[in-house]
Symmetry: none
Subunit: 245 residues, 2 copies
C-alpha cells in the first residue's frame, strides 16, 4: 500500500517514549512522515526502544523550533483535542478525519497536529487548524495517551484506505482445505445417523430433534473436506466397534 | 456509558509499561475488567506510571497462574494474532470483533486473549479461542505494540456501542440455550479424546493433529450447552458399546 501524503506533527512532547510509540503506530499503518516541534528530550533511548522496528521513521523525522516551521507548505491542518473547545472549529470523529485527510491529501499537503501530553494545543495552534479530531471516550477519563491517539487515527486511515494489503482477505482464515460441499455434508449426516442408531443413542422410532440439532451445529461450523474425513474416520471406528459386539 | 461485560486477558506480558498502557486505553473507553496471566514483572512502577489515572483498573486486575484460570466461566473467547495461522479459526477485523463481543456479552461471559509481545499466543491458547482478531497493518511491519492493540479494540468497542445498540450477530437466529462455557467445552474435548482412543481411532502414541483439529472445529461452531449434552450422550453410547466388546 502506498503511504498517504500526510505529516503527523508532535508538538512539544514531554515523554520521548511517546515519540517512539507514535513512530511505531504510524509505520504499522503505512504512514511515514513524522515531525517533532521542540521535543523535551530527543533523541532518546526511550524513543528508540518504544519505536521498536520503526526507527527509520524516527531517523527521517523533521525536527522544528516552531509549529509554523513544521506546517510550512501545508494546505490543510487537522488538530486533535481531548476536550470540547470554546471557539468554533468543526470536530470530527477519527473516521471522519481519516476520510477528510485522504480527500485533502489528493489536493495538497496535509498535516495533523498532536498537542502536549498535559495541555494539548494552545489557542494559537488551534487557530491554525481547519478541523479538529475528537476521539470518543469516557466522560470521566477522556485523555488518551499521545501514542494511543496517533494509533487510533493511523488505524482509521488504514481502514478508510481500504483494501488493506493482507496476504489474503481478513476473515478468511487459513483454510487449507476447501469447504465440504452439500453432497459431502449429506454423506456425513447419513454416516452420523447410521452410527448413532448402531450404538443405541438414536431411536429411529423416536428420533426427536437429534439429527436436526446436529445438522445445525455442523452447518454453523463451515466444515472443510479434511474435517469431514476425520469425522467419518471416527464414525467408521465406531461402526467397527459395534460389529465386534 | 455502561461498561461492557468483557475481560481483557494479557498473557505473560514482558514489559510492565504495556500493562499500564493497556489499563489506560481500557479506562478511556469505559472498559474495566483486566486480567494478567503470569506477568513478567508486576506490580511495577512502569505499569503504574503508564496507567496514569487508570490505576484503579490495575488495582482490580485479576492475576492468574494459567490461562485456564483466567478463562474460568467464560463462554466466548476471542484471540488476537498478528500473523496468519496454520489452522482455520475465523479471523475478524476489529470492527467485526467489537460487534461480536457486544452481542456475545449479552449471552455469557466474554474474554479477549492478548498474547506475549514477542511470540503472541501459543497454539494451545489459540485452541481455546472461538474467533481471532487481526488488525489490518502494513505487510512489512505488522506487529502492533500490545497496548496499541488493546487501544484499537477498545476504541472499536466504544464506537460500536455508540452507533449500534446491543443486538445479536446477523444470521445468528435465536439461540435458545446459553453457549457452553470453557469448563464444559474442556469436558467435551476430554470425553471425545477418551472415546476415540477407546474405539481405536486415535493412537495416543501418535495423536497427530486430530484433537487440535476437532477443537478448532467445535470452537468455531459456538456450541451451546444443549449441544454439548447431545454430543456427550453420543460419546457415552460409544463408550458403552466399547465395554461390551
Amino acid at each position: 500500500m502506498d503511504s498517504v501524503d500526510v505529516k503527523f506533527v508532535l508538538v512539544e512532547t514531554s515523554h520521548p517514549g511517546n515519540i517512539g510509540g507514535a513512530a511505531r503506530a504510524m509505520k504499522n499503518m503505512c504512514l511515514d512522515q513524522l515531525a517533532l516541534v521542540n521535543p523535551n528530550r530527543y533523541p532518546s533511548a526511550d524513543a528508540t526502544s518504544r519505536a521498536s522496528g520503526a526507527d527509520d521513521i524516527l531517523m527521517n523525522a523533521g525536527i522544528h523550533e516552531t509549529v509554523d516551521q513544521a506546517l510550512e507548505g501545508c494546505a490543510f491542518v487537522m488538530g486533535t483535542s481531548a476536550r470540547p473547545r470554546g471557539l468554533y472549529i468543526p470536530e470530527l470523529t477519527p473516521k471522519q478525519c481519516a476520510e477528510r485527510i485522504l480527500a485533502e491529501s489528493t489536493q495538497g499537503k496535509v498535516a495533523v497536529l498532536f498537542g502536549r501530553e498535559d495541555s494539548g494545543l494552545t489557542n494559537g495552534e488551534l487557530d491554525r487548524c481547519n478541523a479538529l479530531m475528537r476521539i470518543p471516550t469516557s466522560q470521566e477519563y477522556s485523555s488518551l495517551n499521545l501514542a494511543a491517539a496517533v494509533q487510533v487515527l493511523s488505524y482509521e486511515l488504514m481502514i478508510q484506505r481500504g483494501e488493506a494489503p493482507l496476504q489474503r482477505p481478513i476473515g478468511e482464515g487459513e483454510r487449507r482445505h476447501p469447504l465440504a460441499n452439500a453432497d459431502e455434508m449429506e454423506g456425513l449426516f447419513n454416516h452420523i445417523e447410521e452410527s448413532i442408531i448402531a450404538t443405541g443413542f438414536l431411536d429411529p422410532e423416536n428420533p426427536r430433534q437429534v439429527m436436526r440439532r446436529l445438522r445445525r451445529l455442523f452447518n454453523r461450523a463451515d466444515v472443510d473436506r479434511n474435517e469431514v474425513n476425520i469425522l467419518r474416520g471416527i464414525l467408521t471406528s465406531v461402526q467397527e466397534t459395534v460389529r465386534k459386539v
